[in-house]
């Protein structure tokens, strides 16, 4: 099927280039600026989240150590650090950077459009997200601090209010509002991605010729459209339970802090269902853009086409569908009917098939390649390695009967940090090293980049692999310390993880330095430094305001033409020659 957009629609730029600073860099309608804004937000968020995790690790490894600025970390402080780390990382890093960030910057260029379909919605999308982040950060500064109920905010702990503990007052309310705003922001973004991909493609850019990351962003935005429109009602109901005295999630007869709660009839499991119906697809919202980025970048540096591109696309679509049938595997032991647990475990295991196929396709692409070991390429290879690791540990947790032991142990922490945390981060790193020249017209320092990669790869394994061992030993997650119990003996492992985490964190400073230095002093980047095929490399680095300087590219080739006999002796054919 091919959709030819009428020149009329695709050609007119929706708005003139602004001149004032505010309209140009702050409230800009330009998807490129908005993309950079999202990436900037994600950078701030990831630094915040990482610092929070250092405090957590410090306390876990050295319980008696006085943390700089906090002193002796109290149990509630630990849980608040944990909650904010999870919330910031999952929402404001893993969702914004690979999806909203790179998607906003690259997708319109890759489809040959001059901007997103709805630039105003696009701007709102970012600023609403920004407000959401501001609200979340604000909760650090309210009396008794931010929420401590984890990024999953299980009711009734999250619903009954301040009696449930420090941070469960205003802090938890702010958390709920923050997530509500975040949903709105991402929904606006998803609308844009969908309309832009479907309607603003330039001549000849059929769906079949879309680059794989654009495909991934498109599928992700469809998933996000559904997921966030379910999380939003959940947040609304939670807020009402907290501030308006309703009882959606709060059953009768709860006595919290010696106070009989004036609620009745609510269902705590209702929150869990609504949350995880969003929560599991959210995992794929975080990782599918990574899939796309890897599948786009790997062939560039392998100098050979991606193996089985159509199989790859089919797998991504399959994952997208299946992601809505598996949420129950987070609730095997939640008091949900045990029969449904067995039902949920089947699709959970089945979803590993497309994931496994995709992984094999990547490994098959590497086979017999003439790899160019740029930093971006290395992060793609690293992505494959950590994704395999994290994916396989999922096999354990997908089985209810094993979950009765491993559930809520560090095994789970290790699993999801590999599969959605580290893997997604590697995707983000790959994208950064790959598109930085296009975004800023300067190359990043490859030598620093490679050091950054090697140390990070070793670091993440040193941090997260031992967590699986802890899990086997029954070490429970979300504990601020392990006083005089069977977990006390695991302290040395926690020490090791803490040290590894602090060192790996320090290594990221190399990346930050590289970013800043290259932004201002990197060598000038040519239009197509990597000899890649997709449309963003057919324009200048950085692209002009309307992306192609008024040209209307006509696409004649797919994105996958590497290792072929191209024009003038090149081994690749660009989509718009």
């Amino acid at each position: 099927m091919t959709t030819i957009s009428t020149p009329h629609e695709a050609a007119v730029h929706h708005h003139a280039p602004p001149d004032s600073f505010i309209r140009k860099y702050v409230f800009s309608l330009d998807h490129k600026v908005i993309g950079k804004q999202y990436l900037g937000l994600a950078l701030v968020a990831v630094c915040t989240g990482m610092v929070l995790s250092w405090y957590m690790r410090l306390h876990l490894g050295f319980p008696d150590a006085k943390a700089p600025g906090l002193g002796l970390i109290t149990p509630e402080q630990y849980l608040q650090l944990m909650t904010m780390h999870g919330t910031i990382m999952v929402f404001f890093v893993l969702t914004t950077a690979p999806f909203a960030g790179f998607g906003n910057y690259v997708l319109p260029i890759q489809v040959g459009a001059e901007d997103m379909a709805f630039p105003r919605f696009n701007m709102m999308s970012f600023w609403v997200t920004f407000v959401a982040f501001a609200i979340l950060v604000a909760s650090f500064f309210v009396p008794e601090g931010p929420a401590l109920s984890g990024w999953t905010a299980y009711a009734p702990l999250s619903a009954v209010g301040k009696d449930a503990g420090p941070g469960q007052g205003l802090g938890q309310t702010l958390w709920a509002f923050s997530i509500l705003f975040f949903c709105i922001g991402q929904l606006l973004g998803s609308l844009n991605f969908i309309a832009t991909t479907l309607d603003l493609r330039t001549k000849g850019m059929s769906l079949a010729r879309l680059p794989y990351c654009t495909w991934a962003w498109f599928i992700t935005s469809v998933i996000g459209l559904i997921a966030f429109s379910v999380l939003m009602p959940a947040c609304v109901l939670l807020i009402l339970d907290r501030v308006a005295g309703t009882s959606f999630f709060i059953p009768a007869g709860l006595v919290v802090s010696d106070r009989l709660q004036n609620h009745g009839g609510g269902s705590p499991l209702l929150w869990q269902h609504l949350f995880w119906f969003f929560g599991h697809p959210e995992v794929y919202i975080a990782i599918l853009p990574g899939f796309g980025i890897i599948s786009t970048i790997l062939p560039v540096f392998a100098r050979k086409p991606l193996l089985g591109p159509n199989v790859f696309l089919a797998c991504m679509v399959a994952i997208g569908f299946l992601s809505y049938t598996v949420w129950g595997h987070h609730m095997f032991l939640s008091g949900m009917s045990p029969t449904s647990a067995t039902i949920f475990s089947v699709p959970t295991l089945i979803i590993t098939i497309p994931a496994a196929i995709v992984t094999l396709l990547w490994i098959g692409t590497v086979y017999g390649a003439r790899l160019r070991f740029t930093t971006a390429c290395l992060f793609c290879l690293g992505f494959i390695s950590v994704f395999v690791t994290g994916g396989l540990s999922g096999f354990f947790l997908a089985q209810p009967s094993i979950d009765t032991y491993l559930h809520a142990t560090y095994f789970v922490v290790g699993h999801f940090h590999f599969v959605m945390g580290v893997a997604a981060m590697f995707g983000i790193f790959a994208g950064t090293y790959y598109w930085f020249p296009k975004m800023f017209g300067r190359m990043m320092d490859e030598r620093l980049g490679k050091i950054h990669f090697i140390l990070t790869l070793i670091g993440v394994y040193a941090i997260f692999m031992p967590m699986h061992y802890l899990g086997m030993a029954g070490n429970i997650r979300r504990y601020s310390s392990f006083p005089a119990d069977y977990m006390g003996v695991d302290l040395p492992v926690h020490r090791w993880i803490t040290i590894a985490a602090l060192l790996t964190g320090a290594v990221q400073l190399i990346f930050l330095y590289n970013l800043i230095r290259s932004r201002f002093a990197g060598e000038a980047a040519p239009d197509n430094p990597w000899q890649a095929t997709s449309l963003e490399w057919s324009t200048t680095s950085p692209p002009p305001f309307d992306n192609f300087g008024g040209r209307h590219l006509v696409v004649a080739h797919g994105p996958n033409d590497y290792g072929v006999a191209g024009p003038d002796g090149r081994d690749y054919i660009m989509q718009a020659e």
Binding site: A164, G253, P268, R372, F395, Y461
Partner: protein
Amino acid sequence: MGKLFAAIVAAIALVSAGVFVARIWWLPPDISTLGPAIDRQIVETMVATGVLFVLAQLALAWFVWGTGDEKNRRPIKRFPGGATPLVVIACTIVGIEIITLTLIGSKVWARIFLEPAPPEALHVDVQAGQFAFYFRYAGADGKFGTPHPDKIDEGSGNFFGLDPASDTAARDDIVSAELVVPVNRPVLLTLHAKDVSHSFFVPQLRLQQDFVPGLDIPLHFTATQVAKTEIVCTQLCGLGHYNMKTYLEVKSQADFDQWLKDQAAQQ
């Protein structure tokens, strides 16, 4: 660079797998009738995934090691047979694993959660609250008093909100902070929460189940050895979560009866 990457990935894969094989960190010995089945399944999954893990990582390392570079312009090789064999391999291997694991697993799961407790089971009422477990035995009359949330008064030790003044069944209820059970006798727990969600986890029983406020959740097990082990909360329940734990004591029937007598005297 490629060779370095290959070496690192291979090393990581072998070391990681080695630690699992060496069982340096492993499950505690099990003391329940369910333990062996669950352990067997964990081991089977460990073997299956472990092999795939090592194979995949080593394949990646090997391909990267063997890749040509810009200097020796070795011709690019396509993967033999294209994507189809890979799809077939993935579907068959993973498919087989899924089917086998699900078949075995669902049996174990059924034994834990689907089969009802045998009638002779000892019935213990378990209440979780921030941040402690309390266990209630029916006492001489074999009947539990009705709990009244509004009557809960932890300061004077009335954790269940019993009303002995008007409820005679409540007067001989035995409340303990530890779970004490006789060996080799089925035990039926009724889990209910006083305030927020909690969870009941005994690693040595390989048994875990959430408390959900507003629900009474049954859970049954049979301990096979006299032992003392820990019960921990695994559902984030607030600031004292890390410290929400107590002990499971498995005693011989005689010792258990004696203990019950002593407790009854103290109430």
